[in-house]
Amino acid sequence: MKNRHVVNLLRALLLVSVFLVWDSLVRFGWASKFFFGEPLLVLRQVVKWFTTGEIYPHLLTTLLETILAFSGGALFGLGIGLWLALNPTAAKLFDPYVKALSSMPRVILAPIFALWFGLGIWSKVALGITLVFFVVFFNVYQGVKEVSPVVLANARMLGANSRQLLRTVYLPSATSWVFSSLHTSVGMAFVGVVVGEYLGSARGVGYLILQAEGVFDINAVFAGILVLTVFALILDALVSLLEKSVYGWRASTAAVTTTEAT
């Protein structure tokens, strides 16, 4: 117990000293204010954003895009992952293309999505989806492949037809794998969305950074980065909370029972 307090204290000290070092580097002219900004001004910018309420629509946009990107990517990943995992012929056919697409640096699709879907939220959601998709897809694929042959044979002996096998065996197993990669895929959705905003948008925290950069306001750039980092941490904590609230096998049962209840 005491030990944990000490660790937390040391961590806080570490953070404070980083800011102090940063501040003194800039203050005494060892580093240029123009490129490195000033920590106090950065903090002031953050406070201003929140007190004026200027940042909330941007935060909300980023959050909405992240949620949409994650749900879309998860849905596509689940559907296509199940389909390919259960159709060996299709899997063989698509294998080289799946590999090519997954190794391609997909962020590069951002300009294309901007052309297709405009500068609104949908181009960002699309980029997030392409990033989330592969994480979920590979996990679903693995989840189906990892189903114990005995569990499968048992379900068949108990009388399951192929639709029932899908619903009661493959889907739960796949969902549990998706759940185990939740941190990664939510993180991916966030990355895709922010990169999309940064490359061209009218709203969102990425847009704030883009704008600040346009007028060489380095302090606002750092402030935006700070806000994004805290945002990401909160998102990650929420995922952990969700995982904990889900009770049962590999933290997967809630997802499973909800699919079964429908």
Binding site: S148, V150, V151, A153, N154, A155, R156, M157, L158, G159, A160, N161, Q164, T168, V169, P172, S173, S176, G248, W249, R250, S252, T253, V256
Partner: protein, 274 residues
């Protein structure tokens, strides 16, 4: 008396099972050859044989999970096509769905048959009581001990009221006390509605205590039946007491005599292969 073919629950005729080798140069492995076996309606038959001789293979053939290379399988006189819908299978390895709790696992077969979830789970809970797991319906498999998981699996199979029960070394991983308890429970359940049982074990004592008949298999490759013993010990039996009875000891000696050479052969082979 019913006509003869209808009174035979399981009939395996001259079954051959050859497995392709994993590395191409080696010859295919003939696990089972020309094996014939019968289980009469309502009969409890145990199959004993050394490890790796093809007992599970035989059960998979009877369940319709594995097609024999040649030979015929008849279930109540009908040639078996596809899965054996009249049989329940208790697997040797863990077979419960880890993402369903005990009641959900027991109920799943009924749900496959279109029974509504509520009713299926109510009946599942009745069965959990019967196998001594009252109140444990909400536990997930990873929260249950090995013996409890086996009980859940037993309830999962029996709730569907199959005419034939196939059991693959169901109690081999349990400690001796749990095992004796479960053997007695199994006999009670069996006595209540006289299903046909094909019971696989490598434990001769277990085979004799439970069965009407014990079939001994040779060591592989090319496993055959090398002995068929009628167990004429009266029922009802108490599995934990029966081992000291004179007739039990006699039968044990006879069957062990038939098995001994094969067990040693099987052991020598596993040593060579390892």
């Amino acid at each position: 008396m019913r006509n003869e073919s209808a009174a035979v629950a399981v009939e395996l005729q001259r079954i051959n099972c050859t497995f392709a080798s994993s590395d191409r140069k080696a010859d295919p492995y003939p696990a089972v050859s020309e094996l014939s076996l019968r289980v009469a309606d309502g009969e409890f038959v145990s199959v004993v044989g050394p490890t790796g001789c093809g007992k599970s293979t035989l059960l998979n053939v009877t369940a319709g999970l594995l097609r024999p290379t040649s030979g015929t399988v008849r279930i109540f006189g009908q040639p078996l096509v596809g899965l054996n819908a009249r049989a329940g299978y208790l697997f040797q390895a863990d077979s419960l769905m880890p993402w369903r709790n005990a009641a959900g696992n027991v109920a799943v077969g009924l749900q496959y048959r279109g029974v509504a979830r509520r009713e299926a789970e109510a009946r599942a809970n009745d069965w959990l009581v019967r196998v001594g797991l009252a109140g444990r319906g909400h536990a997930y498999p990873h929260q249950l001990s090995g013996g409890m998981k086996k009980r859940v699996a037993l309830a999962q199979t029996l709730i569907l009221d199959p005419e034939i029960i196939l059991m693959d070394e169901p109690f081999s991983a349990l400690d001796v006390q749990t095992r004796l308890l479960m053997e007695n429970e199994l006999l009670d359940i069996w006595a209540a509605n006289k299903k046909s049982v094909l019971f696989i074990t490598h434990d001769l004592e277990e085979a004799i205590s439970l069965s009407d008949r014990v079939v001994v298999l040779s060591a592989g490759p090319g496993t055959r039946c090398i002995g068929d013993f009628v167990i004429d010990i009266p029922r009802p039996r108490d599995v934990s007491e029966i081992r000291h009875e004179l007739r039990f000891v006699e039968l044990y000696k006879d069957i062990w005599h038939a098995m001994k050479a094969e067990v040693l052969k099987g052991y020598a082979q596993t040593k060579v292969r390892a």
